[in-house]
Symmetry: C2
Subunit: 422 residues, 2 copies
C-alpha cells in the first residue's frame, strides 16, 4: 500500500522467521514474548510446519478476544474463527459452501453495485448467479430496502437466492453504514433466509465525523432472537486498516450459527489446502493483539498507527472536497475505507467519441486521463453503476503531497476534456 | 516437517521482513544482497505490497534459470512460470481451466491409485470426474501403459478425459519413475490428447541407487516434435526437498505450450486472488537460487542440505528394510519422496472384526495400532488401493532415533495383532 510498515509487526515476523534473533538485545521484550508465544503454537516450534487448517489455536483465540472487545463484550467463540490467506481466500472458502443447485436452479448471491470484483469473479467461477442491488448514491451509497426487494424478486425468477454480500465500510464507495441501515438489512436477510456475508475488512478505516463502524455480528446479536441465530460470516484482513500488509496475506473469517453439518464440510474443504501461510497468521495476531499500554512497543505502535489513520483521514477529505470543487464531478463524503467513487457528467460528444472507439464512455475518459497525465483511475463500469451514469474509482492511498499534485493534474485535465467535447 | 530450518532461507526472511536488519553486521553479505534484490522487486520496496499475481518478476526469472539448469540447458521462459502459495494452490489454479463441460460430458482427470488426496478433493470440488489408474506394485509402483489404457477407455464412456496426473517421485508410494516409463506416459498422453500434470514436488528427494529424477519437461522436449509441443504443467513446492518449509506456502507452476487464450484466462483467474504470499515467494527464490560456492553462506547451506538429505536417505532404507523384516508386511524400495506404502496381509479374523465395527480392514488395523502404541499411520483406503489388498502410508520424516523406536513398537504390535486374529 506504499505506507510505512508497523515496526511491531515486522519485528515479530523477523524473530519468528529467524529464531536466533530472540536473543538479540536490540528487540523489545514484548516483541520477543509475542514471537515466543506464536512459535509455541507452531509444531516443532517452527513457522515452517503446517498448522491446523483453520490456523494456530492461540491466534484464533486472540482474534476471538479482539472481536469480543470490538463488539463491547458480545461473546466470540474462537472455534468460529478461521484464519485465511487474506480476506479473499476466506470469502471464497465460505462462498464455496453455497455451490449446490436445488430444484435445477443455480444458487444466487446478492452483491452491491458498484461492487468489489472478487465477488463477481468468484460467483462466476463457482457457476452461481449474481443478483445485483444498486447502492443509493443520493443516500451516500446506503442500502435501500426497496431496492433489495426489487433485486431479490427479480433474481428469484431464475435462481435460488442464498446469500447477501454487504461491504461495510464500502469498496469502492467509501460509505459507512448506519446502525439503522444494518438493522434493516438484517431483517431483510432474515425474511428472505439469506446468509449474510459481511465484508468488514475496512473496519479500522472510518474517518467522517458522526460515522462509526458497527459490525453485523454486534447488531444482529443485539437485535436478539430470531435474528441472533442467523448465519453470518464476517471477514477481516491484514491488507487494510492502518497496517496495509497486503503482500503478507493474513485474514480471518468469523462464521456463526452455521448448521453443524455445513460447518464440518467447511472445515473439511479448507483442509485440502493444508493451512494459510503461518507468517500471514502471525501478522493477523499482531493486528488483533497489538502492544498494550505500558509495554515497550506501545508508544511506537501508537504513533505509527495514529499517523497512518490521521493522514488517511485528511486525504479522505481532500479527495472528496477537490472533486466536488470541479464542475461536472460530484463525490460523496468518503466516510471510510480507502476509495472515492465520484460521478462524472460526460458531454454528449464524449459519449459519441467513446462509442466510435468501441469503449465505454467512462473507460474512454479514463484512458484519455491516463494518456495525457499519467494518472490512473478505474472506470466505474469495472465495478458496476446505474445505466446512464458514469463514475470512476480512485484511492486515497498516495501520500498527501503526491495526492495534491494528482488532484491538480486531474482538475486541469477534466476542464480541458469537457471543453474539447462541448 | 520437524527438520531444522535452512539458515540462509530464514535469514533472508528476517531481513526482508524487518529491513533495519540490512545494516546488522551479524548477517552475511550474500544474505543481504539477496534480501535487497527481493525488496527491489517489491513495490515500494516492501514485502507488504501486492506483487503481480504470477509473482515477482526477478523470482520468476530465478525459477526459470533453476529449471534450465536442472534440465541440462533446455530453455525455460520465465513467463511460463507462475508462483503460488504452495504447490496445492498452483495445481488447483491450473486444474480449474479444465472445468468446462463439452457435449454434456464432465471433464475427466486421470489420477493414480494410490493418490495424494488433493486430487480427488479438487476434482470433486470442481464437479469433474476422477478416472483412477492403478500403479503397479509389482513394478515398484511404476505406470503400466495397459492399465492407463484400461482406465481411459472405461472413463471415456461417461467423461471427456482431459488430463493425466503423475506424481513423481510418488506420494504416497515413494517410487521414482524411470526415463523409459516417462517416455511411454508422454506418448500415451499425446495419443489421447491429455494435458500432463507433473506433480514433481519431491524432485530433490531421490535416495535409491540407480534412481534419478527426470522431469517431464526434459523428457518431453528431448522426444522432439510432436511431443515437445504438448501442454504440460509441472509443480514444485518449498514444503518438501531438503527445506521442508510447509508453513511458509511457497511454490510454482511451469506451464508450457498452453493455447494463448487459455493462458490469458489462467492469468486472469489467478488475479482474483491478488498474489501469493510475498514471503512464500521469497522462500521459493532461496530454494531455486541457493548460495553459490565461494559465497559466505555456501558452506553452512551445503552442510545443512546434505545433512537433511543424507538422513532422509538412511531413513528411507531403514523404513523399507524394517517393514520387509516383519512377517506379513511387504514394502517396495523407497526410491524417493518421503513415504512408504507397505502392503499388509490381514488375517481373515481381522477382516471380520473390522466389518463388525463398520470399519475398512486397514482402518481397523490403523486404529488398533494407534490405540495400543500411539503410532499414527494412514490406512491405504485413504489413498486408494487394489480391491482386496491392504496398505498403509507412513513417513520417513521422524528423526532416526524416534523412527527406530516407532518401528520396533510397530513390529511388536503387528506380531501380537496377527496372533490375536489367527
Amino acid at each position: 500500500m506504499g505506507q510505512v510498515p508497523i515496526t511491531f509487526i515486522r519485528q515479530v515476523l523477523a524473530l519468528i522467521s529467524y529464531t536466533p534473533l530472540l536473543d538479540d538485545p536490540k528487540f523489545p521484550e514484548d516483541v520477543k514474548k509475542r514471537a515466543r508465544e506464536i512459535l509455541a503454537g507452531c509444531r516443532g516450534g517452527s513457522v515452517g510446519s503446517y498448522t491446523d487448517s483453520p490456523g494456530i489455536e492461540i491466534i484464533r483465540k486472540h482474534v476471538a478476544e479482539y472481536i469480543q472487545r470490538r463488539d463491547g463484550g458480545i461473546p466470540c467463540d474462537w472455534q468460529d474463527v478461521v484464519l485465511s490467506a487474506g480476506a479473499s481466500d476466506g470469502i471464497k472458502a465460505v462462498m464455496k459452501l453455497l455451490i449446490n443447485e436445488e430444484g435445477g436452479k443455480k444458487p444466487g448471491v446478492m452483491v452491491p453495485i458498484p461492487q468489489y470484483p472478487l465477488y463477481s469473479a468468484t460467483i462466476a467461477e463457482f457457476n452461481m448467479s449474481l443478483a445485483g442491488y444498486y447502492l443509493n448514491e443520493e443516500k451516500n451509497w446506503g442500502l435501500d430496502i426497496k431496492e433489495l426487494e426489487r433485486s431479490i424478486s427479480e433474481a428469484k425468477k431464475t435462481t435460488n437466492v442464498r446469500a447477501i454480500v454487504i461491504i461495510n465500510p464500502g469498496n469502492p464507495t467509501g460509505q459507512v453504514l448506519s446502525r439503522e441501515n444494518i438493522e434493516e438489512i438484517i431483517k431483510f436477510a432474515y425474511k428472505e433466509k439469506l446468509i449474510i456475508f459481511a465484508d468488514e475488512v475496512y473496519q479500522d478505516n472510518v474517518y467522517a465525523e458522526g460515522s462509526k463502524f458497527h459490525s453485523f455480528k454486534k447488531v444482529l446479536t443485539e437485535l436478539g432472537e430470531p435474528y441472533s441465530k442467523m448465519e453470518l460470516a464476517s471477514f477481516m484482513s491484514c491488507s487494510k486498516g492502518y497496517m496495509g500488509e497486503c503482500g503478507l496475506r493474513g485474514g480471518y473469517a468469523e462464521v456463526i450459527n452455521l448448521c453443524p453439518n455445513v460447518k464440518a464440510m467447511y472445515l473439511k474443504s479448507i483442509s485440502a489446502m493444508l493451512c494459510p501461510t503461518v507468517l500471514g497468521q502471525a501478522v493477523m495476531d499482531c493486528v488483533v493483539a497489538p502492544p498494550k499500554e505500558g509495554e515497550p512497543s506501545y508508544a511506537t505502535w501508537k504513533k505509527e498507527k495514529d499517523s497512518v489513520l490521521k493522514s488517511l483521514n485528511e486525504r479522505a477529505k481532500l479527495v472528496a472536497d477537490t472533486f466536488n470543487s470541479i464542475d461536472g464531478i460530484s463525490c460523496n463524503t468518503v466516510q471510510g475505507a480507502m476509495y472515492a467513487f465520484p460521478q462524472i457528467k460526460l458531454p454528449a460528444k464524449a459519449i459519441e467519441a467513446a462509442k466510435a472507439k468501441g469503449q465505454a464512455p467512462d473507460a474512454y475518459y479514463a484512458f484519455e486521463l491516463l494518456e495525457r497525465t499519467g494518472i490512473c483511475i478505474v472506470p466505474g463500469s469495472g465495478f458496476g453503476q446505474k445505466p446512464g451514469t458514469y463514475h470512476f474509482r480512485t484511492t486515497i492511498l498516495p501520500q498527501t503531497e503526491k495526492l495534491r499534485e494528482m488532484l491538480e493534474g486531474f482538475k486541469k485535465f477534466h476542464t480541458e476534456f469537457v471543453k474539447e467535447h462541448q
